[in-house]
Symmetry: C2
DNA sequence: CTGTTAGCGCCTTCAA
DNA sequence: TTGAAGGCGCTAACAG
C-alpha cells in the first residue's frame, strides 16, 4: 500500500484524472455525472486514496493551514486560546501549525518565515511585542495576519484583544473598595502592550482616588513565575512599610510573588492582598485562591480564527478591532485581607 | 513585493533556475562555482527570496514538518512535552504541526489523516489510547510514527515513555513508609495504558506488603479535574472508614480530589494524604503543595522528536523502546499526615 | 459532462 | 560547473 495518487484512482474508475479530481471535490462534484462520481468515489475508497494537500495547495494557492505563533507554550493561559482557535478551524478543513516565539523578536521573525515558506493561508499571532513590527509588516504583504490577545498599537494590524486598561482599573478599584492605601504592582515586560496598558489603567484609577501607586523601578523581563518572585523580593527588600496590596500583571507572576512572600514569612492575604491576571485554572486552587482578572482566552482564540478565515476569503474584511471586556474574579487572596488600623 | 520565486532569483543572477536551486541548497552548494553561489545569494537577498517549502516538498517528498497529536492541550502537562519536541526540531529546519485528539479515536483518526494529507515527514502521538490502533497502523504504512508518553502495548509502534508501573509502586511505597493502611486510588481511564499501569504497580506494591487497596468500582472517564472530583466524592459517599491515603492518577485529578475534600470539610493532609502524578508546575503552589510523581515531559518530548527524526532519515532505526524512570517529589500533602492511633 | 493541455515552484536527472 | 528537460500530484482553463 504505497502512496495512492489521483492517477491511480482515475485509472481504476476508467476516467481522466481531471474528472476524478472534480468528482472528489465537493464544490465541483456537480459538474460531473452522478454515476461517474459514484464510480470514482468507489475507486478512491477501495484504494484508500488520501489526496495530497501539498500538491493541491501548490496548484490552488491554498494550503488549508493556519499558522499560530504563541509567545510561550508553557504559559497555561495559552491553552484555551489555542483550543478556541482549533475549535473554530475544525469543520472548515483547516489545521493549525504552531510555532513559539518565546518573546524574542528573532524567533518571531523566524517563525513567520517558516510559516510563509509553508504557505500558511493566514497567521494568528498571540505573542506580538514591540520589536516585532518589521517582521509582521513584511509577513503581512504575503498573507493575512491577525493579532490575538496582544496587539501592537498603531500598527494597523487587525487585532482581537481584550481591554487591558480596563482590567488594570478593575484591579485598582477592587483594592480601593477594600480599603487599601499602600498599593504596588509587579509589572510585566513593557514591550508588550498589554502589560503597559494594565499598568496605566491601574495607576490612573489609583490617582483619580488621590492615591499614588508605589512604583518599583524595575519591570519583569518576562511574565513568568521567576520574574514575579524576583520583583516581589525587590519589594520586600525595600525599607519602609510594605504595601498591603499587590497587582501582579499575570497569574504566573502572582504565584511567584506568593512564593516570595512565604519565603519571607509574610502571608497572603493577612499581610498582603494579591491580584493576578488571566484567571488561569490553578488560581482557584492555590493557597490562598487568587483573585484575578479573567481574560477570555477561548473566545479570543475563536474570534481570532474567525477573522483569520474571513481575511483568507476576502482580504478586505474586518478592520475593526475586536475587544472583549475583562471581569474580576474575587477570591481569598484579597477578600481575606482586613485593614489593621 | 509579490511572491518571489526561484525563477526571479535565477533571472536576476543571470543563471538557470536549476543552478540557482543548487546554489541555495547547503548540501549541493559545492557543485556550483563559488562566484555563482555568491551572485545567486546576493540576488536572493535583494529580492527577499523565501523559498517555497510546499513546492520543494512536492518534489523532494519531504515537507520538513512533523505532526504532533496530543490528547488535550488544556492539560498543563503537555506544554513541556511540546516544548521538548520543538527544542529538538529547531535548527533542523523542522516545524511542528499540532493536532488535538481529545481522547477520542474518531478525532485521532481524523488528525492522522490531516497530517498524512499534509505529508508530514513523521508523526509523534502523545495521546494514544486503546481504540487508536487501527488508525495508527494505517498511518504507519505511510510515515514513521512515534508514540510519546503513552504507549500501546503490543502494537510494536516505537514509543518513548516512562515507567508508569514503577511510578505506581513509588506512590504505594511512600504511603506505606508513612504508616498508611487504608489506601485508595482514583484511577484514570483504563483505555490509556499509563493509567492501567500506574494502577497495577500501585496495587501490587500494596499487596506485597499485605495490604489490599480500597477499590472504587469506577474509573475516571477522562483524566481531568472534574473526574477527580467526582471519584473522590464517590469515595466520600461510601459508608465505613475513609481511606487515609489517596493516589490520584494525575495532578488534575488530585486537584479535583482536593476540592471535593474541602467541600466535605475534610482536610489534606490531616485527614487524607494525596499523591498526584506528573509534577505539574502548580502542584508546588496549591494548598497544601501536592506530593507527586515527576514525569519528565520535556525529556520525553526531546527523545520522541529525536527518534522521529532518526526514523525520517532511516526508517529502520531505533526499535528499542525508550523508558525514563519516574521520581517521587514529596510535599506537604503527604508529609503533613500523622497516624491517629 | 469529460478529456486535453498546461502549469503551480521546485528539484533531479542527463547531457553538454 | 552549468543548462535543458521532465515531472512531483493536482487543478484551472479550454476545448470538445
Amino acid at each position: 500500500m504505497q502512496k495512492v495518487t489521483l492517477k491511480d484512482v482515475a485509472a481504476r474508475a476508467g476516467v481522466h484524472t481531471s474528472t476524478a479530481s472534480r468528482a472528489l471535490d465537493p464544490d465541483r462534484r456537480t459538474l460531473v455525472h452522478q454515476e461517474t462520481v459514484a464510480r470514482v468515489r468507489a475507486a478512491a475508497d477501495q484504494l484508500g486514496y488520501r489526496g495530497d494537500s501539498i500538491a493541491s495547495g501548490l496548484r490552488r494557492g491554498r494550503t488549508h493551514t493556519l499558522g499560530v505563533v504563541v509567545a510561550d507554550l508553557g504559559n497555561p493561559f495559552i491553552a484555551p486560546v489555542v483550543r478556541g482557535i482549533e475549535h473554530q478551524l475544525e469543520g472548515r478543513g483547516l489545521m493549525a501549525l504552531i510555532a513559539e516565539s518565546r518573546d524574542q523578536p528573532t524567533r518571531m521573525a523566524r517563525a513567520l518565515d517558516s510559516l510563509m515558506a509553508r504557505r500558511a493561508d493566514a497567521v494568528i499571532v498571540t505573542g506580538a511585542r514591540v520589536g516585532d513590527e518589521r517582521a509582521l509588516r513584511k509577513a503581512q504583504q504575503q498573507l493575512p495576519i491577525v493579532l490575538a490577545v496582544r496587539h501592537l498599537p498603531g500598527s494597523g494590524i487587525p487585532a482581537v484583544t481584550h481591554d487591558d486598561e480596563r482590567g488594570g482599573r478593575l484591579a485598582a478599584e477592587h483594592f480601593l473598595e477594600h480599603g487599601h492605601t499602600r498599593i504596588a504592582q509587579l509589572a510585566g515586560p513593557q514591550e508588550v502592550s498589554n502589560f503597559r496598558e494594565r499598568g496605566v489603567g491601574f495607576r490612573e484609577r489609583l490617582r483619580s482616588a488621590g492615591i499614588g501607586a508605589i512604583e518599583l523601578e524595575e519591570y519583569g523581563n518576562r511574565p513568568t513565575f521567576e520574574e514575579g518572585k524576583r520583583l516581589m523580593e525587590l519589594l520586600l527588600a525595600r525599607t519602609g512599610a510594605l504595601p498591603t496590596a499587590i497587582f501582579a500583571h499575570n497569574d504566573l507572576m502572582a504565584f511567584g510573588a506568593l512564593q516570595a512572600l512565604g519565603d519571607h514569612d509574610r502571608s497572603c492575604p493577612e499581610d498582603v492582598a494579591i491580584i493576578g491576571y488571566n484567571d488561569t485554572l490553578m488560581t482557584a486552587f492555590t493557597d490562598p485562591p487568587i483573585t484575578t482578572i479573567r481574560l477570555p482566552g477561548y473566545e479570543l482564540g475563536r474570534m481570532a480564527a474567525d477573522t483569520a478565515t474571513m481575511l483568507i476569503e476576502d482580504r478586505e474584511q474586518a478592520r475593526t478591532p475586536l475587544t472583549l471586556p475583562p471581569v474580576l474574579v474575587p477570591r481569598r487572596s484579597t477578600l481575606g485581607w482586613l485593614p489593621k488600623d
